[in-house]
Symmetry: C2
Subunit: 279 residues, 2 copies
């Protein structure tokens, strides 16, 4: 199978490695609007060749969109305009707008809307990780609107990579993603800003920062280029979760102000039940 990957960063680059390592692609063609990224991806062996999008589509069996979510819907339509037998898929973190935009396209069936639940705080082709994705879930939205052969191809790839597949409506996906992914990003940025705002003595933070700080602030290293479009495309869900999160922080703040150990015990006891969910 010949695969074209558009966007040779963290996700596209890691996916290219997964395809090659699992014998899923004979040839991976890379497309990236950033010439430095493209050259780096070729140099790192993530892709076998670089091509302009136009010529890549015709020669490919599968075209993968791994670009920021604000750029996906329009490019998805433009690519669908040009495909016949090929399968097109995306790997973006928001799904509602994309699914709406392509819903009535004559070639909708060739598209499979996916979101593999994996990432790191790094970006660009150098951030590509061998063995990424394995063991994490992947969401497929509006599976029933994709042609059976297209679904089979894409699910076959994800299964081979070791990702359990979850079917979900696009709206449902975006709501859950706000809770289990997008909010963590916002709080991590805000936490980094809090510390940087108040702590002028970098050396002291560095020396003291233990594992807890690192794990909660790690995501603040993530690129805005990827995350700003996600936060804005999933605006209403993100705002909803953010409102609730600020509310919970204010409740804890009031308990601390009032030395309300009993209240804190109740809140923390409840928070502890997250153990059910993450192990």
């Amino acid at each position: 199978m010949i695969v074209t990957i558009i966007g040779l960063g963290l996700i596209g680059g890691s996916f290219a490695l997964a395809l090659k390592d699992n014998g899923l692609a004979e040839r991976v063609i890379g497309v990236d609007t950033d010439p430095a990224h493209a050259a780096k991806a070729l140099e790192l062996g993530l892709v076998d060749e670089l091509r302009p999008l136009e010529t890549a589509i015709a020669d490919s069996d599968l075209i993968v969109l791994a670009i920021p979510v604000n750029a996906i819907p329009l490019l998805a339509v433009k690519i669908l305009n040009r495909v016949e037998r090929q399968v097109v898929m995306d790997m973006g973190s928001t799904k509602e707008e994309l699914c709406e935009v392509i819903a009535q396209h004559a070639r909708r069936g060739r598209f499979v809307a996916t979101h593999p639940m994996w990432g790191t705080e790094y970006s660009g082709p150098e951030a590509a990780v061998r063995g990424a994705f394995a063991g994490r879930s992947v969401v497929i939205c509006q599976r029933e609107l994709s042609d059976p052969d297209a679904v089979e191809l894409v699910e076959g790839i994800y299964e081979r990579i070791g990702m359990p597949i979850i079917e979900m409506e696009a709206e449902e996906h975006d709501l859950h993603a706000a809770y289990v992914s997008h909010i963590s990003q916002v709080t991590s940025y805000a936490l980094a800003l809090t510390v940087l705002e108040k702590e002028r003595e970098d050396e002291k933070i560095f020396a003291l920062a233990g594992g807890g700080f690192e794990s909660t602030v790690r995501l603040a290293k993530s690129s805005g280029e990827m995350w700003i479009p996600i936060l804005l495309k999933n605006k209403y869900n993100v705002l909803d979760v953010l409102r609730e999160h600020i509310h919970q922080l204010q409740i804890m703040r009031r308990m601390i102000e009032r030395d309300d150990a009993e209240g804190l015990r109740g809140a923390i006891g409840k928070a502890n039940s997250i153990r059910r969910i993450i192990h």
Copy 2:
């Protein structure tokens, strides 16, 4: 050297292992008010014997307080009342009140106030970790008020375990600790509560929760018994940081509401500079 460890949980248990593994203690005596914890610590081989505090002090060279911070100051005084040549140290996460309480004690010199910057989200003797502490920093407060031989003993232990030593004033320690440790705890609890409040479908969260969510919410599994005293003892610093953190979240919320990509770019670019501090 014979060491008595008071509090056989995550910190005390891990410290016991570190002392034994590094050949620093011939014998570790365990003291814990919870008989089940005490029995478990003995069964796990964290300590060599269990004793009531009274008899343990007389036979020890070093007495280690590894109990919740609200219980440290009074017990520190009671132990100082009974020691002669022995060294006493604590491992608590707040230092200001403790240092104030023991400041004028006739045996102040026998005490070394320390805070090793290590922990996990688990608690109790089963949570004790072999090889903990290594590579993390340890803060020593009011070092000049401890006798030289007491400092030498305690610093020698931490050096042997592989912990760089930082000297700091107690007030300074508590302020920095609020920023690099205590705030992460509060946000993590609040994040868990946010998700649990809104997401009734545990299975979906579990399936979707990627690495980002896990790392920011992990701390929410931490025991209230340890953390409530820390948050209340360091109340004013914690409230200060919490206020700033909520403010930063509100700024990001407004930017998202207004589709202010430019503003978000600025904020995230600034947050990214946390890369300087955590690698």
